[in-house]
Amino acid sequence: MSRTVDTSKRSVWIALGVAMIIHTGLISFQASRRINTSFIRVWMVDSLAPVEKLVDRTLHGVTHVWENYFALVGLHRENEGLKAEVDELRMQLEKQHEDILESQRLRKLLSIQESGIGKTIVARVIGRDPARTNQTVTIDKGVSHGVKPDSAVMTPQGIVGRVIHSSNFFSIVQLVLDSQSGVGVMHQSTRRQGIVKGTGGQELELDYIDDDNDLKEGDVFITSGLDRIYPKGLPVGTISLIGPRRGLFKAVQVRPAADLGRLVEVICILDHPDAVDVIDPTQESPVP
């Protein structure tokens, strides 16, 4: 009996040891970059993201039906005297309104596509970071659509982030809010250059600006193009708060121009004149 218990205990420790060695190995391979582990992520994302996309689409469909039918059933009950024809017209109107909103959104995206910032593609956001350790989203475009690591991602309002991992049909986008994100920026009116860094929260932080004496709340920052990821001149954000000086620079908070909490469709910039050349599209991004 005691031998059985010992064997069982031993197998538990062996299982724990094996699992720990696998995870530690994965971490150390990525740290040393000696062995390319990106195929594991590509395989996992290609397997999981289609399910995520399916669930997202289903939820979208259910919401659409709910908003355009069941919500109207409630109204119908409250207004029993109204004719059925009125309900039907209202439903049609709601649907058309939704179509108009969608076409307005797509028209905005298309106008950006035609604005000469390079080759672009529109992608749908299908999921957000399930681990809370990073500020990332999953989009439904990958290497097969031309999206590769370090492709810039934006909305008509401003930049969103950059692609850090691409599988065949999906990509992971690091938002500018991520604590490891940095963007080369330029003050729109004075043309002074600096770097805007993510804080992991809702705001960005301005750093390394040439002269911060005449900055004021509401000032707009655009991309400088010096990071060779984002094309020059895209909106980044506006100053929301200027705090006391910390060391060489003032503590300056910047509110992102794009609404990063409500991303539905985004534009991936596949190619622009200042872009960094990526040798292998399936390679993990150098700085995740």
Partner: protein
């Protein structure tokens, strides 16, 4: 026949684990506040407590963590390492303590969430020490996450308990 039932059980587990990770990603996208919850962690702790099989708990934690890492863009293995350890510790706790008591569950969920945040951050910093997140800010996030996870976990555990009692 036994093999078919084993495959069925394993298949159900795989579907459940994928569902948990996918729903965490989608709910975080739809409701921003949901990013403070960690369904995979709650799932690891629950299976650790209730299954009474440490090897399976280790496997479940490991799979959940690896899926989270893949979809989050984090360094592969950080959440895997953390969730494996949590699955194992939950299984050990399940065999040593009375984990049916709400107070034990509250302590366990709170401490496991804090431990998970700390371990993932340390592992992330070991690989990429350029992270600029202030430690104080991160700790505030962990505390909020631990509180919310505890509340959600208690609710879900109670629901699963009632459901499993009704079906057995």
């Amino acid at each position: 026949m036994r093999r078919i039932s084993t495959f069925g059980i394993v298949g159900k587990f795989i579907v459940a684990l994928i569902t948990v990770v996918i729903f965490q990603g989608i709910l975080s996208l739809k409701f921003k506040a949901f990013s403070y919850f960690d369904l995979p962690l709650i799932c690891s702790v629950y299976y650790g407590f209730t299954m009474g099989r440490p090897i399976a708990s280790v496997g479940i934690g490991s799979a959940l963590g690896l899926m989270q890492d893949s979809l989050s863009g984090a360094i592969l293995g950080t959440n895997g390492f953390s969730k494996t350890l949590i699955g194992f510790l939950a299984a050990v706790a399940g065999s040593k303590f009375n984990v049916d008591q709400p107070i034990t569950r509250v302590f366990a969920l709170f401490l496991f969430t804090l431990g998970d945040g700390l371990l993932v951050t340390i592992l992330g910093l070991m690989v990429n020490p350029t992270s600029s997140t202030p430690f104080g800010g991160a700790f505030g996030g962990w505390l909020l996450s631990a509180t919310l996870n505890t509340l959600l976990g208690l609710g879900l555990f109670g629901y699963y308990d009632r459901w499993s009692n009704a079906t057995t």
